[in-house]
């Protein structure tokens, strides 16, 4: 309880209180607080437990890199684990809980791991838990899994919404600190389209920490620049090819009850002509014993809490610094009336110009912070030996690392700078400039100048006339930085990666065991793999590895910086595509017709298709399907086949073109005729099948399967545009133009004759005819095809989609006296299996026309068609390829299922003995038993052979016999009736 709120100062609204809770305790804060600042203001410094040793942890930073202060917020479907307290804008009803502790934060049993730490060194688990064999999975691993992880995610569905959008700009400015603000102002004044994004809720960056008076004027100017769009609470998460940036805006994460009309988070995909990365610099922790005890804090964070939220870290603060940041913090602490116990500086000369009260101990370092759940003092090693000082907080600053992650997202490697004792972004990359502290500048003046200058440069690169920087060039001289990687002689654990409990010794061990490469050390010790992705730890780890290996940090190099800059929710990346809206729904023009006839629908790709039409008294889907099938074969039925792909093909070379894309001939197809066609891939396998009709010399109409409608059109376009661009041929998808109805059954002609004007007798309109017809006495025009998938006398009638429902109703009405029924995809499936017609259950991408018994369709005379050459290969013509046959059970009462394999009678059930499998099966109500189609080695030569239909997966073993795939009307008498 040593941190507290000062009675005056800060940028909080003291007039208003915010009620929130932490671990069930009711607390209050003010607008302008983060959860972290509010906890500190309430004297709460112990906020979490570390991953491995369950060490008590406090708040270390004031920003996105926070490794310790992770909490779970929200309840039910709004539960959010691992949220950084430093980034949560305080709001009413905020319910935060600490994580990874049991039974309580203050008393955590897991802390016993700390006592075992000598045996839990880096990578210890690779060396043990192996005996006795089998104990790993049964004993060790379950225990490890239970202990692992940080927060607990909810299984409840999220009540809030998310969205995504696109944005375009001339200049994207990332970070609204001094450099970013100066850049955005410069570009805004020049009239450019500017996006200015900052992860915080308030713009200003270090201007806020400093309370710089210029900030309000700058913000006011943006109000008057409509071409500058400001995006607070927006983290740019990744830099992608072609200067596309991803960003996440936390639209409503700071409100108690989100407005349902707005998303809680929005993903921005920003197409930027130019971008300026002004993301500032991250202060580095110092590595010394006990550097994780609550109360030890980054100097800059301490100063930010002090100046922005008027939170004092304690009553007596020790400062440990390698640069002027510690002195600035000390000065502000003293100005706020807080005692600074000492400024400990490893440099011999300290910082010139210090005129505060605190004594400066140069050539010294803190070797240990003392205390358990709070800091009680520090041990300082200097020239004169070790001394102890009382202190209840420690501010530390190990120097600054420019935040260059985004600049390295596209593969460029950071470059070590001895002067900055830091890695800088690589030189010039197209479309992206770095400005301010991100480019290694430390003073506000230098950052303002740099931001303005870079904006002018960026705009000039994209054709803007000379742009005037909003800030004048100033003095940018700065002192070289002094690296300091770790304090020697620490007694306590000196942490490098706080969250993952990687300490100095772990890195030493990694080097000793041969894992000294920076990438291996990361993987072996888990340094840099915590939720902050090494933002705080990586540079120190590199420095430590460099010392251990006796090389420079430049030689050690960095691990790869990858998106995302900070973790991103699935929700933001998903947007509106959730639940029923995961994919859009496609609806047939006959959907309502099917619906009012009682259809049960099934998803087929994006479509909903009528599967069957249950009637009163039918208790199972089979009842309905059997009834539909029998009725069609007896009378007639009407089925919606609108989802089949339909492509109009135009052009003087259309016939030539079709001849090349189908393996069978099309050039000589007569006008008014339809033909079944098989399309191969270039590798000789069947791609798709369908019928194509000719309406005039230069107009064909192709149908495809539902599944490949889009694929076939793309394939045709590929052939036409890249293989044979000299052919005149055009395509128009007309799938959606036509409501297409299959009318099948012996009565179908009688029914259709009632609405079709033309003579459709067998003589006038024989099998495989296609023509435009006149309906209802000339009031409507449609396209009629005499084709059949069911094996019955059948037609397909197409009418403009809007008329579909009217025409379907009319057919049903006309068919009533003939006993017509509506039927769905299931009955269609049964009838096609009865007839031995194939679908994509058989055309599975590994069959040739020969495999399906269509070998004779493949033109032997055409000089060329897609797939011709590859079809000739030995393996494609091998006699023992699986080929299409029928299978049926020996005992008509026995059943079998699709996906069963075929074994020779009496053969052992092994993969070597596998003869093929059942591609499709159904109960045939006409035959009274199950039937199936199968691909079986040498199938057609084995008709009559007894086989085992083997379904070990369900323990179903059916004696069967190989038969012809055509179960009904092999002579096609019904078809030609």
């Amino acid at each position: 309880m040593s941190s507290y709120r000062l009675s005056t100062g800060g940028q909080i609204d003291r007039a208003r209180s915010i009620k929130f809770s932490f671990d069930g305790k009711a607390l209050t804060g003010h607008p302008g607080d983060t959860l972290a600042s509010a906890l500190l203001a309430n004297g709460i410094q112990l906020v979490g437990r570390s991953f491995k040793y369950h060490r008590p942890r406090g708040i270390l930073t004031a920003g996105a890199a926070e490794p310790n202060a992770l909490v779970t917020t929200g309840t039910g479907g709004r539960t959010e684990a691992n949220t950084r307290a430093t980034m949560i804008e305080l709001h009413d009803e905020l319910n935060a809980r600490s994580q990874n502790r049991w039974p309580s934060l203050a008393f955590d049993i897991g802390a016993v791991n700390g006592l075992l730490s000598p045996f839990l060194s880096a990578g210890f688990y690779y060396k043990t838990f192996m005996w006795p064999a089998g104990f790993w999975e049964k004993v060790y691993e379950p225990l490890i899994r239970k202990a692992a992880g940080l927060g607990k995610a909810s299984y409840e569905a999220d009540p809030d919404s998310y969205e995504k959008c696109w944005a375009h700009c001339d200049l994207l400015v990332i970070g609204a600190g001094p450099a970013g603000l100066a850049a955005a102002l410069t570009a805004g004044r020049a009239g450019a389209r500017v996006l200015l994004a900052d992860e915080g809720f308030a713009f200003g960056g270090s201007l806020l920490t400093d309370g710089d008076a210029r900030l309000s004027a700058m913000l006011a100017e943006f109000e008057a620049l409509p071409n500058v769009q400001c995006l607070p609470r927006t983290t740019v998460i990744g830099w992608y090819d072609d200067n596309v940036f991803g960003a996440v805006e936390r639209v409503q994460k700071h409100v108690a009850e989100p407005d349902p009309r707005q998303p809680v988070e929005r993903l921005w995909r920003i197409i930027a002509k130019q971008a300026i990365l002004a993301s500032g610099a991250e202060e580095r922790p110092l590595v010394f014993g006990g550097n994780d005890i609550p109360g030890v804090m980054m100097a800059g964070a301490m100063r930010s809490y002090l100046n922005r939220q008027a939170v004092a870290p304690g009553k007596r603060v020790a400062v440990f610094t390698t640069n002027n940041a510690g002195y600035r913090t000390a000065a502000d602490l003293e100005a706020a009336g807080i005692e600074v116990a000492a400024i400990v500086d490893p440099r011999s000369e300290g910082e010139p110009g210090w005129n505060g009260k605190a004594k400066v101990l140069t050539n010294s370092c803190i070797v240990d912070a003392l205390g358990g759940k709070a800091v009680s003092g520090v041990s300082i090693a200097g020239a004169s030996g070790v001394q102890r000082l009382e202190a209840d907080a420690v501010a530390m600053s190990g120097g600054w690392s420019p935040v260059i992650h985004l600049a390295c997202h596209r593969g460029a490697k950071p470059v070590w700078s001895d002067t900055h004792a830091a890695f800088l972004a690589p030189e010039r990359q197209e479309g992206l400039l770095l400005a301010g502290s991100a480019a290694g500048l430390w003073s506000i003046e230098a950052c303002l100048n740099d931001g303005a200058r870079k904006a002018a440069e960026a705009l000039e690169a994209i054709g803007f006339a000379k742009v005037e920087p909003a800030f004048a060039e100033g003095d940018t001289a700065q002192r070289a930085a002094t690296p300091f990687w770790f304090a020697k002689g620490s007694k306590g654990k000196a942490f490098v990666d706080y969250q993952n409990d990687v300490n100095l010794k772990d890195l030493g061990l990694a080097v000793r065991e041969g894992y000294g490469d920076v990438e291996l050390a990361k993987r072996y010790t888990t340094n840099g793999m915590a939720t902050d992705q090494g933002k705080l730890s990586n540079i120190n780890a590199i420095g430590i590895l460099a010392e251990a290996r006796g090389v420079s940090p430049a030689e050690v190099g960095t691990t790869t910086f990858r998106p995302f800059y900070t973790p991103v929710s699935f929700g933001a990346l998903t947007g509106v595509s959730r639940g029923k809206h995961f994919q859009p729904v496609r609806k047939s023009p006959l959907h309502d017709w099917a619906s009012k006839n009682g259809a049960t629908f099934v998803e087929t790709g994006l479509w909903y298709r009528a599967a069957w039409f249950p009637r009163a008294g039918e208790t199972t889907w089979r009842d309905s399907v059997d009834r539909e099938v029998l009725n069609i074969r007896q009378n007639a039925g009407l089925c919606d086949v609108s989802t089949l792909g339909k492509i109009e093909i135009f052009g003087k070379d259309a016939a030539t073109f079709l001849d090349r894309v189908y393996c069978n001939g099309f050039a000589k197809l007569a006008v008014g005729k339809a033909r079944y066609g098989i399309m191969l891939r270039e590798d000789g396998m069947i791609y798709d099948d369908g019928t194509t009709s000719r309406f005039s010399d230069d107009h064909f109409f192709m149908t495809t399967t539902t599944a490949l409608a889009a694929g076939v059109l793309t394939h045709l376009e590929f052939c036409a545009q890249t293989l044979w661009p000299e052919l005149q041929v055009h395509f128009a998808s007309s799938t959606d133009q036509w409501a297409q109805m299959a009318v099948a059954g012996p009565k179908s002609r009688a029914i259709l004759s009632e609405i079709v004007e033309e003579d459709i007798s067998d003589l006038a309109f024989p099998f495989m005819s296609a023509r435009t017809v006149s309906l209802f006495g000339g009031k409507l025009e449609g396209r009629l095809f005499r084709i059949s998938f069911s094996g019955e006398l059948a037609y397909e009638l197409g009418v403009p989609a809007g008329y579909g429902e009217y025409v379907a109703d009319a057919i049903m009405q006309a068919g009533q006296k003939h006993g017509i029924c509506a039927y769905g995809a299931e009955a269609l499936g049964v009838m096609r299996i009865e007839k031995g017609h194939v679908t994509h259950a058989e055309i599975n991408g590994t069959v040739t026309p020969g495999d399906l018994g269509c070998g004779r369709m493949v033109s032997a005379t055409k000089p060329d068609f897609i797939g011709k050459a590859m079809l000739a290969r030995e393996g494609m013509q091998a006699p023992d390829r699986p080929r299409l046959v029928g299978v049926k059970p020996l005992d008509p009462k026995a059943r079998f299922r699709t996906g069963s394999h075929i074994l020779s009678d009496g053969a052992a059930a092994t993969l070597e003995n596998d003869q093929g499998y059942v591609t499709s099966s159904c109960f045939s109500p006409n035959l009274g038993h199950t039937i199936g189609l199968a691909l079986i080695k040498n199938g057609p030569e084995r008709i009559g052979e007894k086989v085992m239909i083997w379904n070990g997966l369900r323990n179903e073993f059916t004696d069967g016999v190989i038969c012809s795939p055509v179960f009904i009307d092999p002579e096609n008498e019904k078809l030609h009736a």
Partner: protein, 92 residues
């Protein structure tokens, strides 16, 4: 590229609007070419590390097949052309 393609007919569009087929450096052999020429065409690839020409289909745009010349290491796009027009020298 990985993010944007500038379609010669439609302008700059995101990857999501396109479907990628692959190597555009291949020439479909004559129908009577040797089996090994066909095997080469259908199955073998240069798969270069560096500049590479690929067929991209603007499937959710103008539905034209494009030849995109791209660097497979940097993902930088060097050129985009309409495949048919490129083949026919600009006159379809």
């Amino acid at each position: 590229m990985a993010s944007l393609i500038t379609c010669p007919h439609c302008g700059q569009r995101p990857k999501e609007e396109f479907t990628i087929k692959g190597d555009a450096g291949l020439t479909r052999p004559a129908p009577d070419a040797d089996a090994d020429v066909w095997y080469d065409y259908v199955y073998l690839r240069d798969n270069p590390k560096g500049l590479h020409k690929e067929y991209w289909h603007h499937s959710s745009g103008c539905r034209r097949w494009l030849i995109v010349e791209r660097d497979t290491v940097t993902h930088k796009v060097h050129s985009v052309a309409d495949a048919a027009l490129a083949e026919l020298g600009g006159a379809a």
